[in-house]
Amino acid sequence: MSRLNPLNGATADVQQESRAATAAGAAPLDRREFLKGLGAGLLVCLAHDVAFAQESGRTYGGHELPKEISAWIHIAADGKVTVFTGKVEVGQNIRTSLAQQVAEELHVTFDSITMVMGDTDLVPWDMGTFGSRTTPTMGPQLRHMAWAARESLVQMAAKRWNAESELLVAAEGRVTNPKTSLSLTYGEITHGEKLVRIVNGDSPLTPATAWKVAGKPIPKVNGRDFVTGKHKYPSDIERPGMMFGAILRPDGFDAKLTSLDTSAAEKMSGVRIVRDGEFVAVVAPDGFTAQQAIGKIQATWSVPSQPSNHGLFEYLKSHPEDGDAEQPERAIGSVPDAMASADIKLQQQYTVQYIAHAPLEPRAAVAEWKDGKLTVWTGTQRPFGVRDQLAEAFSLPDAQVRVIQPDMGSGYGGKHTGEAAFEAARLAKAVGKPVKVVWTRKEEFTWGYLRPAGLIELKAGVRGEGKLVAWEHHNYNSGPSGITTPYDVTSQLIQFHPSKSPLRQGSYRGLASTANNFARESMMDELAHAAGIDPLEFRLKNLTDSRLRAVLQAAAEKFGWATAKSRAERGCGIACGTEKGGYVATCAEVVVVPASKSVRIARVVQAWESGAIVNPDGLQNQIAGAIVQAIGGALFEQILFANGQLLNPHFATYRLPRFKDTPQIEVVLLDRKDLPSAGAGETGIMGLAPAVGNAIFAATGARLRSMPMSPRKNAEDGAAPPYQS
């Protein structure tokens, strides 16, 4: 079994997204056909290579476009605008927010824009949708192209009217000459020709203070398809003659097949067994029969002895990943000297368990082979990455594999890989028909990958007046994201130590920033209490980052921190953090029932700032959603495992946040129109856990240093924790 471990070097090679909506049954177009099908109009491409940017005025009919293009915009003769991007929509609302940004610079109505996303035959290559990169990178790229398109159209109109281009006005998809009242739509200006312009992205963009379409709370663009059930997710795709596949799973990780009897399954009507070494699967006319057939296969496996939750953190610390010793993320001053000079010295360990993404739509794919070309519809954050994996696996040139990513039932970092796509393709090839594979919930838990567990060791020193002077932070296995402290400390040693993880692990919303921030912000709270200083005041005393200070103060003000009084039944906690250009501060109010030791989060106020807001409604939704998702990891989500098996791969035993767990949530958005927009899908998750832990301490005096903080049973020893939720 390969154990994806993208945490060191991060996310760099494991990040990608896209999408495309091809209705089931309709034959998908490839790029060449699609370009032909675009008809007349203006095609604008953004080239990474400036040399290409000089070329313009070519026609695109019959021309190969430069390879290194990150997106295209096409303006058709009828004024319809089509945007092509490799980013994918997974619920973060970029289908809407990217279209807003194009409308803004192109000066067209929002409704005239269609986004084509994540179809490897139709859109330019893209690494993937992860790392909160869509808004800061794809957004400006599209805006540059839209600006260039508008400029081209104005120039063309000026030439036609023999007018000065500076005097013309572009608005609502038309260029108008105010002097003569002559006016042409964008489509009319292209005059039935196929024009291409390649630009390099150095255009002056409209400042956020002047935005008219961007910056507005435009609703989800195809929202109606979701409330009517019309939207086709990857698992809804159907192809003519399609069969259903199911895969025989081993009894544990790294298991070896020791015996196999497929005779009972083979006798079932319409069922075919596909076997290739230890890959054993069935293909059946429907999914129910496929699952029944898998259930009838008798297989025995030899599963090697493997670690469990018991002793996990010692295991992670004592099993470093092979290779060179990692360099510290930050090493300044002398921590030992600074500690020696400190009045308050604390040293603590914090832990986080493995948790699952549990996207409500599990991995799913439909694969179809036609004339030697493989087309796969699947849910993935990296369509091009999956295409490359498939091309390699089947020894095909990239052009012979097409991956289409219909807007999917989310991922949260959990769908960077293409397991179901590969399985469906393998089975479709074997039976000569399109095959659908939809993972069961148990498969999704077991054979996907997990948010890493980790051990974090902190050491900190404070001088009498409340000045932080020493900070040492070691993270074992969980990851380097969000590991550096935003506080002003003259002596720091901060290091990530990759481990050999006993379970397959990978990306997750916010990566390790939740774990690192939980440890750091819990420690900050501990230091504040030890120094007898209010936790907010203690943070502000040691913080010069004005953006982080601003969200802290905004959250505290909205929450009423200054007058909030913690008592035995009700505690208030605060935490903050910054990562990937997002700034977050969270205040939590927790209700504790002393008799039953039960904990409930009653109220959360979270302030957020990520530069200029592109869509305040979508942003509010993302931040509130991140808070809710964070509740699970903070309080009760944890993967239990032993001897190569997950012990709770079901929603009945792996608890997710529900309506009843949801507190009153207030989101305060700070709109910094003077700053570039950063991504907002991830970092909003990192404030909740420490704020809640700090609130529990404020109420009870108990410091909970392990996430989840209040499960029914501790993962390590099965004992009941002091507080439950």
Binding site: F226, G287, L360, G625, F659, T662
Partner: protein, 159 residues
């Protein structure tokens, strides 16, 4: 294999299958009504919620033999002549979704809740919807959408 007659969204539909096949896959695969979603197959997440004789049920837990003869409503059966139901409209107006995968089940659960309790307070909404999971965490907006739909029903809730 047996033949079963289902009344789905007001239409009589015949399917031939084993009687223990769940209603969920019958709807999705036999009848091509893919608006009803698979989330867990264990009756825990509510993505597969449909109305069976007006009651919200997890279709992954209902064998087709049990559903035979009953009136089944799926998400595809709510919109009439291009007009959304108040619950659908409220979900749209509140933007009560992110990825939208849970939305069908949420809307049917809310529809059943409001039939039984036309003017629920927040606690009743939370109790009534708690069988449905939104992994994106849109719960606060979903509660608002149910509240809004209750007001739009014209049963005295007002606007």
């Amino acid at each position: 294999m047996s033949e079963f007659t289902l009344i789905v969204n007001g239409e009589r539909r015949r399917v031939v299958t084993g009687g223990d096949e769940p209603l969920l896959s019958v709807l999705r695969e036999h009848l091509k009504l893919t608006g009803t979603k698979y989330g867990c197959g264990e009756g825990q997440c509510g993505a597969c919620t449909v109305l069976v004789d007006g009651q919200a049920m997890h279709s992954c837990q209902v064998p087709v033999s049990v559903a035979a003869g009953a009136r089944i409503t799926t998400i595809e059966g709510l919109e009439q002549d291009g007009k959304l139901t108040p619950v659908q409209q409220a979900f749209l107006d509140e933007g009560a979704m992110q990825c939208g995968y849970c939305t069908s089940g949420m809307i049917l659960a809310a529809t059943a809740l409001l039939r039984q309790t036309p003017h629920p307070n927040d606690q009743q909404i939370v109790e009534g919807m708690n069988h449905n999971i939104c992994r994106c965490g849109a719960y606060p907006r979903i509660v608002k959408a149910v509240r809004r739909a209750a007001g739009m029903n014209g049963r005295g809730g007002g606007r």
